[in-house]
């Protein structure tokens, strides 16, 4: 087939091959749709393209550190905890893809097949109606057009395929899922769980829920994946497929159907809207290498470029009908962006349990406390609340004082175990606001002729109050548990470093105040769907990827039905 329009026409186009795009690809291909998956970066094949995955610590030239000149030239990405020598090749460097920070915002990105699903932190919790009903109850953003019952079966659907480990805790605010066995808690984590349960009504410490195959099922074996070995080197890509990333799961699954055309190095410039037909007809792509402009066509388009790149593409999709960006009649495209507040941490020491410790693998999760603040009713001077991690462990120590024979003997000796150290990180809900927004620069363009994204996102008073409350509540709980040397720290990090970028193309019931309907379709352009972080009306506190996956699977299956019925 030559380069005819027909050869560039598919049943569906998916923009992005990461966490959510992979799911759209899988669902479409399984349902028999010829699907084009556009990825702006290079291809990353499972195992084959994980160059550092089996490297030993001494094989890294700088023992994991990033050279100074790279850090200096790339201050944003250098702030990311996972941007280390072993995984730096999966992150976008500031110098390669500039953007404009009207306010400081650390835009952490991964441009390759699999996107950030290669390096994500793999924590997966369901939303409940305490989350979906938040905006309506507390009077911010707009009401979500969906509730837990709409998404619950799709959570189950993606959990079974992805493989989620966890414990059935029976909590109303954090619904149970389709769990593989949980990863054990340490002695002091169990102890804290008991202290909290006994002394703080309505608060729970639970096993971390994460996308790790603690006990693979047939469906995971069919994907060619094996049991998680607790290497905790996930950011390099896992040779066992022990955690969920698109490269080991959704993308090869889609490929296997024979229905997927994966096109790496495809920078999406915009979505093509046909004024005569009154709908989107395709996508304009710039080849990343040749800079050639190519058009691809399909009756349905899923935008899964990663929340803020999704905003960028839509803002840049200008037509006679939509001069301000696709679907943007109400002027709110790019607005009400939000994130998670990850600034606050607390740590302490515990002298109890001197005779016990943990051993074996490096556990890739921690304990977790779901949101307890303002859950049933408003009870503080700030809206919403925070979830948090809790981890407790002991570190082996060798005395490194002095020099010479003494020092050497100490280094070669059996290490002694230090006391238990405990720590928690706050994961706070932020309130989407019109003043937190994304826009395009009027003049500056990148190397592919796409306008640069301007990011205008900041914390507010609600966030500051929440941090204060987190410190107070945690100090109280830690003190009750007998932890000592309690230290709080506010990193003051800019928004974005949480890597939970959300909003800008929010869902809602009313076309006047939202962009997408309950099926993730544009209210006014029904064959374009947004199912990545951009669609989020509010953020709640959960790590969002699982929700993006479930939303994508749900919307893709709806789109297939609608296509079959000729509705789109």
């Amino acid at each position: 087939m030559g380069d005819t329009k027909q050869a560039r026409t598919f049943d569906a186009i998916v923009i992005g091959s990461g966490m959510s795009g992979g799911w759209a690809a899988k669902e479409f291909c399984e349902k028999g749709l010829e699907t084009l998956v556009l990825e702006r970066g290079r291809d990353v094949k499972h195992i084959k393209d994980y160059p550092t995955t089996n490297m030993m610590p001494w094989e890294f030239k700088h023992r994991g550190e990033i050279p100074y000149d790279i850090r200096e030239a790339n201050p944003v990405i250098s702030r990311c905890y996972a941007f280390r020598e072993d995984a730096m090749h999966f992150f976008v460097k500031d110098t390669e893809h500039p953007y404009i920070q009207d306010k400081p915002f650390d835009w952490i990105r991964g441009y390759q097949v699999g996107g950030k699903s290669i390096m994500w932190a793999r924590q997966t919790q369901r939303w409940s109606d305490f989350d979906f009903e938040g905006p309506a109850r507390d009077g911010f953003a707009v009401d979500w057009p969906i509730r837990y019952k709409d998404i619950a079966p799709w959570y189950s659907y993606v959990e079974k395929f992805a493989g989620i480990s966890g414990n059935k805790d029976g909590l109303p605010n954090l619904p149970d899922g389709e769990f593989l066995p949980p990863l054990e808690l340490t002695c002091v984590e169990n102890y804290f769980k008991e202290i909290v349960a006994k002394n703080f009504k309505g608060r729970d410490v639970i096993y971390g829920r994460c996308a790790h195959l603690t006990e693979p099922k047939q469906i995971h074996i069919d994907q060619g994946r094996g049991q998680c070995q607790n290497r905790d080197l996930c950011q390099r890509g896992c040779p066992f497929g022990g955690y969920f990333n698109a490269n080991a799961t959704t993308i090869p699954w889609a490929l296997k159907t024979g229905n997927m055309t994966l096109r790496p190095f495809s920078v999406v410039h915009s979505i093509i809207y046909d004024d005569a037909k009154g709908k989107a007809v395709g996508v304009q792509v710039i080849d990343a290498n040749t800079k050639e402009s190519i058009e691809y066509y399909a009756p349905v388009i899923f935008v899964n470029a990663g929340a803020y790149n999704t905003n960028l593409i839509l803002l840049n999709s200008k037509s006679k009908r939509f001069p301000n960006g696709l679907g943007n009649d109400n002027g709110i495209l790019g607005k009400y962006a939000a994130f998670h507040n990850y600034r606050a941490e607390i740590s302490a020491k515990y002298d109890g349990f001197p005779d016990t410790t943990s051993k074996g693998g490096r556990r890739p999760t921690s304990a977790y406390m779901p949101r307890f603040r303002n859950l049933y009713k408003q009870e503080t001077d700030f809206l919403r609340g925070y979830a948090l991690t809790f981890s407790a462990r002991r570190w082996p120590n060798n005395d490194t004082n002095g020099f010479g024979q003494n020092l050497k003997e100490n280094l070669l000796a059996e290490p002694t175990l230090g006391p238990w150290y405990v720590g928690s990180q706050m994961m706070g809900e932020t309130i989407p606001k019109e003043t937190n927004f994304l826009s395009l620069d009027a003049d500056k363009k990148d190397d592919w002729g796409v306008p640069l994204l301007k990011i205008n996102i900041d914390y507010d008073d609600n966030d500051e109050k929440m941090i204060k409350d987190f410190f107070e509540q945690m100090t109280e709980m830690y003190t009750k548990a007998g932890f000592t040397d309690i230290k709080t720290s506010d990193s003051k990090q800019a928004p974005g470093l949480d890597i939970h970028h959300m909003g800008g193309v929010r869902m809602g019931k009313d076309p006047k105040t939202s962009m997408l309907n309950k099926w993730h379709q544009f209210h006014n352009c029904s064959n374009v769907f947004v199912t990545d972080g951009a669609c989020m009306t509010s953020t709640s506190t959960q790590n969002p990827s699982l929700t993006f996956m479930a939303m994508t699977a749900r919307a893709a299956n709806y789109a297939v039905e609608q296509l079959k019925k000729g509705e789109i």
Binding site: L183, R231, T356, G404, L411, L412
Partner: protein
């Protein structure tokens, strides 16, 4: 190559060889290529002997065996800020001055007991020039890192498991090792 030029080359080499002993310390280059810091062969030797004083070879490998001094240089050169690189190089020279002041000779020519005394006085933190302290502390930290993250250490002393398998959350300490 014709005979005449061969002879000429030989002449130059022998002349050079004759001059060599007097300028050897400055002429000898560092054995690894460094892009930012200026370190000569003698500096490298000093760093090597210092690292070996910190972690000596006994019946098991020491700092030199795991190339801790070269790792130190490479890390300073690649991963440190220019201001710290500067401090390190200055500190290295001042460390020599410190040795000369104390024992009237280079650290390289000091006996083991003298070397130990130099390190002891630096570790005492009493009246130590800032650059010397920075040089010593940085070197010690990097030598420790080189040693405890070396193949030797992670395969023979505290074995690093690339594939550790099951995680046990709560076990008695005596069963943990």
């Amino acid at each position: 190559m014709n005979r005449r030029s061969t002879l000429k080359t030989l002449l130059i080499i022998s002349t050079g060889a004759a001059l060599l002993p007097s300028c050897l310390p400055d002429e000898k280059k560092s054995s690894i290529s460094l892009k930012n810091i200026k370190i000569n062969g003698k500096d490298e030797e000093l760093l090597s002997d210092l690292s070996e004083t910190i972690i000596p070879k006994t019946n098991t490998p020491g700092a030199k065996d795991v190339s801790a001094h070269l790792f130190t240089l490479m890390m300073i050169d690649y991963c440190y800020a220019p201001a710290d690189q500067d401090k390190f190089v200055k500190g290295l020279k001042e460390f020599e001055d410190f040795s000369k002041k104390k024992f009237d000779k280079s650290f390289l020519r000091c006996f083991a007991s003298e070397r130990a005394e130099i390190l002891k006085s630096i570790e005492s933190k009493k009246d130590i020039p800032e650059n010397v302290a920075f040089f010593y502390n940085t070197t010690k930290r990097l030598v420790l890192q080189a040693f405890t993250k070396s193949k030797y250490y992670l395969t023979k002393v505290q074995v690093y498991e690339l594939v550790p398998g099951k995680f046990y959350g709560c076990v008695p300490v005596k069963k943990a090792s």
